[in-house]
């Protein structure tokens, strides 16, 4: 029974990981309709940023890397938006294929720059402990990831809901043409959106160095899960993403507890597919009168 209770915080922490990797996608996919398959590689870029920063930041690299990785991955995303994606608005399926090409190139580039084997990112000593919760151990690293996910969500919410830029962004999402004729520089909004969305992937990458491998294939392990969260949560819906991530994390945690890891994954897929039967647009739907 105590073990079963342990699955609660575990589910939350899996949810936090899912939320971190999917948050950036809700920006780029939700707000812009761009399906960014290279999102996983931006996560990878964040992880490698932490690796490189170890040279001068030493064991505190993970902390230092958070803002740096945001900037690095954000810059990569910005370049991608400027050079390619801006020609693709209104062709969401094409962006999927385009960004997949980008992800292949980035993966191979990582392999050539950093080598094919995984590299090591040492966690700061203050993150190596654990607390006892409900009779089980909850590592500080997990708590850190949960806190980071919360902070990112709060930041995104504040930005979207309270800032002028955020208001413009929402305006563009709801009606691009109307926003444009009302004087919103939609091109600039797009750049910023992509910068932030990709930057969030970088932050996720830094966090993932605490619990997983750091190598060229890192992005491929998370990308499908991230998309599932976005799809289940609903297009561009912050609260949808939060609820979907936590729900899927919990589902994963308990399904794996009662069955095994392989079956748990299949169950999660099945539940999402089934859920979309009931709510084809995800948890929360952006109301729009647009006709396809």
């Amino acid at each position: 029974m105590t073990t079963l209770l342990n699955q609660l915080p575990i589910g939350l922490s899996i949810g936090a990981v899912l939320l971190l990797i999917a948050l950036g996608l809700t920006f780029t996919f939700g707000q812009m309709g761009v399906i960014n398959m290279a999102h996983g590689e931006f996560i990878m870029a964040g992880a490698y940023t932490a690796y490189l920063l170890q040279d001068w930041a030493g064991s505190q690299a993970v902390l230092v890397a958070l803002p740096v990785a945001f900037a690095v991955a954000g810059a990569l995303g910005w370049v991608l938006e400027r050079t390619a994606i801006r020609h693709f608005y209104g062709r969401p399926l094409d962006t999927l294929l385009l960004t997949w090409g980008v992800s292949l190139v980035l993966q191979q580039a990582a392999r050539d720059i950093f080598g094919a084997p995984n590299v090591q990112v040492v966690a700061p000593s203050w993150l190596t402990g654990r607390v006892e919760v409900l009779g089980g151990a909850l590592p500080y690293a997990r708590l850190f990831i949960m806190a980071l996910a919360l902070a990112c969500v709060a930041g995104v919410w504040l930005y979207l809901d309270r800032s002028r830029q955020g208001r413009r962004m929402r305006a563009v999402v709801q009606n691009r043409e109307l926003a444009a004729v009302s004087g919103v520089a939609t091109g600039r909004v797009d750049q910023l959106t992509f910068f932030i969305g990709s930057g969030l992937a970088g932050v996720a990458g830094v966090a993932l160095t605490l619990i997983g491998p750091v190598g060229p294939s890192l992005g491929t392990y998370y990308i499908v899960d991230a998309f599932l969260v976005v799809v289940a949560g609903g297009l561009g819906q912050l609260r949808g993403a939060v609820i979907a991530a936590v729900a899927l994390g919990m589902l994963n945690s308990f399904a794996e507890f009662w069955t095994d890891a392989s079956l748990a994954k299949v169950i999660v897929f099945a539940v999402v597919i089934g859920f979309l039967q009931v709510r084809p647009q995800g948890l929360f739907v952006l109301r729009s009168r647009a006709l396809t």
């Binding site: 342990n6 575990i10 090591q120 590592p139 997983g212 491998p213 190598g215 890891a261």
Partner: protein
């Protein structure tokens, strides 16, 4: 106006033409290839590993050590007075590609033998190609046993040379309750079947058996299950990147080597770096060779390898690949020919001093006698031997000589 559907075919028409020109020259080459790769002044040998894709990380190192062995042989004048010429191919971490490239090496390049493969899946895919064409494959990686193809030589350990000694070690240390963790594919499932049979016969208890998909990175639930079961030791057959996530999450949940030993059979010197020494130091592993293995042969091998690849480590599969080339060359020399049947006959009982010590080919199974070694991962990332079987163990891929294993195969 009707859309001309067939018009685009004009483009399509160009392609087979290009294909034909590209391949046209090859049919010519093939004609004078001779038999058994033994033509002109060189002997062609195939080297078939994944140079791209997920397996490249491991297989490239084996390819490098095989190339080193080929160079060493050439530096001493080659085999039968002829230099070896390596034809390298990329299996691309894709099993059907392995089968097709094997076919190309045999039929087009007419190589005398092929060194290659890593995963069981790639070996299984290549097996029919070698058997039907009566060609030779040297497979250099420890594997799950239950196989003995007349056209494959296995220079890595079979189960009784790695998994059984690993269990013997745990038993010797008084570990009675074990937990099995593995990636979801053939090797871990077969290994765990053997472990369960062994445990039953030796008064050990298996508390749990868990598999995770290849590339899985979320281990908190599994760690929780292990924590609840409270085993004396874990037997780990996870593969690749999953090991990194598993050890990181196990360590951060408070399980280190002192609290919970984890015996691994797929973690060598190469993998320790990626996992992070601080996460895995002190944990035992089971292999037949370590970079630190004592002996002149090994010192020379490590030196030669590091001279070519700065900062590189040497590992068990690399050494087995290196051995394969030398064993084949010795068999060819003994047979006086590269003919497959003659080489097979000469190889039976052949003995060589190699980095891991004396290695003898067992004729009937075409596996090799190997010394089992348990090592412990050191803070510097290398592995130190703490236990060995002293003598090379006779390969027994079907575990016929172990009474507890009846009914497994």
């Amino acid at each position: 106006m009707r859309k001309p559907f067939f018009r685009p075919l004009a483009v399509a028409a160009l392609l087979p033409a290009a294909l034909l020109t590209a391949c046209g020259g090859e049919s010519g080459d093939g004609a004078n290839g001779g038999s058994g790769g033994n033509s002109g002044n060189t002997i062609k040998v195939g080297v078939l590993h994944s140079l791209s894709g997920t397996m490249a990380i491991s297989e490239v190192t084996v390819k490098n050590s095989e190339m080193l062995a080929i160079e060493e042989i050439n530096a001493k004048g080659g085999v039968l007075g002829k230099k070896l010429e390596a034809v390298t191919e990329d299996g691309a971490s894709d099993w059907p590609t392995f089968a097709q490239k094997a076919q190309k090496l045999i039929k087009k390049d007419k190589v005398a033998t092929v060194f290659g493969g890593w995963t069981s899946a790639s070996r299984k895919a290549m097996l029919p190609v070698f058997e039907r064409n009566k060609a030779l494959l040297w497979y250099p990686v420890q594997y799950e046993g239950l196989e003995s193809s007349p056209y494959i030589f296995y220079t890595g350990a079979t189960t009784n040379q790695q998994i059984v000694p690993g269990l013997d070690y745990l038993k010797e240390k008084g570990k009675k309750k074990i937990y099995l963790v593995g990636s979801d594919y053939v090797f871990p499932r077969t290994a765990n079947k053997i472990i369960k049979a062994y445990a039953k016969a030796n008064g050990m208890e298996v508390l749990g058996e868990e598999y995770t998909p290849l590339g899985h990175t979320e281990y908190s639930t599994l760690v929780n299950k292990i924590g609840e079961a409270k085993p004396d030791a874990v037997f780990n057959t996870l593969n690749g990147d999953s090991n990194v996530a598993f050890f990181k999450q196990l360590k951060s949940a408070g399980f280190d080597a002192a609290k919970l030993p984890v015996m691994s059979v797929s973690i060598a010197e190469e993998e320790v770096k990626g996992i992070g020494v601080q996460n895995i130091a002190g944990q035992p592993v089971a292999w037949n060779y370590y970079q630190t293995t004592a002996g002149e042969q090994n010192a020379a091998f490590v030196k030669a390898f590091q001279a070519k690849h700065k900062g590189a480590v040497t590992s068990d599969p690399m050494e087995a690949g290196y051995n394969a080339v030398h064993l084949w060359a010795a068999a060819v020399t003994k047979a006086g020919s590269t003919d497959v049947e003659a080489v097979k006959k000469a190889a039976a009982g052949l003995s060589l001093d190699l980095p891991e010590g004396k290695v003898t080919i067992d004729g009937p199974t075409q596996h090799v006698h190997k010394t089992a070694r348990i090592g412990v991962i050191q803070p510097d990332g290398l592995i130190k031997e703490v236990w060995s079987s002293k003598e090379p163990i006779k390969p027994d891929p079907y575990l016929k000589s172990y009474p507890w294993a009846t009914g497994l195969s």
